[in-house]
Symmetry: C2
DNA sequence: GTAACGTACAACCAAATGGTTGTAGATGGG
DNA sequence: CCCATCTACAACCATTTGGTTGTACGTTAC
């Protein structure tokens, strides 16, 4: 898809929601809320290979949803407490953006189909 | 990937976050909040084919983020006002699940297997 | 009626995703 | 030291995703 017209903020939101769009990863977030869960221990909870779990953790990490911390030969995974707040902020931004548009016309759009729109992107 | 161990609620959340994990689709949500936009008109706003835009709209629709309504030969797209609320609820459920987990236990997560099949949160 | 518009959908393609196995590097225990 | 454990990462594969073009069909305008 060669995304090149997006700024880093957009891509961060992409990664955030993409990471959340998988039941296994959401379950990992639940399990790692208390922190201190090694990747191996986490992997034991799922019917897939260790490498697959590693990849999921990487996705979560790059999305900023978990952090990893080395302790000896183990890598401890823990859900970032601020993660949901960040996701919520992304949702809020989305909502307020479209609400703003709705707001400007909440009363006056009765039969006005289309009147003033100007999708001036082209 | 032939997901078959997930219930419909999980798959709905998958679709919801997946739909949100794309900057083009998020922009569509913003544009369609303010009123009904036909798919063609929407398509004019993006540097891609009409068919590609159609696919994005389908993804948004299957995620419950927009609804389509026929008017003559046009198909009007509008963002579901409850959509963000639903996404937020999904986030809340996630967060409270892991907070509960942090809360009520700390040592019994050793032999937990079976993964997402039994996140006994009830 | 015919042409133009708006939509639907199929076929196709490149790239990303999610999984596997295998190999190799650190780290800790006997 | 040797071995088991934990992690990292590469190579590979099947499916999905996101895009394209082309075709078909209903609706509106002329």
């Amino acid at each position: 898809m060669v995304v090149d017209g997006l700024d880093e903020a957009d891509r961060a939101v992409d990664r955030l929601f993409h990471a959340l769009a998988d039941a296994t990863r959401r379950d990992m977030l639940r399990r790692c809320g208390r922190g201190e869960l090694s990747v191996s221990r986490l992997a034991a909870a799922y019917p897939m290979s260790f490498a697959a779990v590693q990849k999921h953790v990487t996705v979560l990490e790059r999305a900023g949803l978990v952090t990893k911390e080395r302790r000896g030969r183990e890598q401890l995974v823990r859900t970032d407490p601020d993660a949901v707040a960040r996701a919520r902020r992304a949702l809020d931004a989305l909502e307020s953006a479209w609400r703003a548009r709705v707001d400007r016309m909440t009363g006056l759009l009765s039969e006005e189909e289309g009147g003033q729109e100007a999708p001036d992107t082209g």
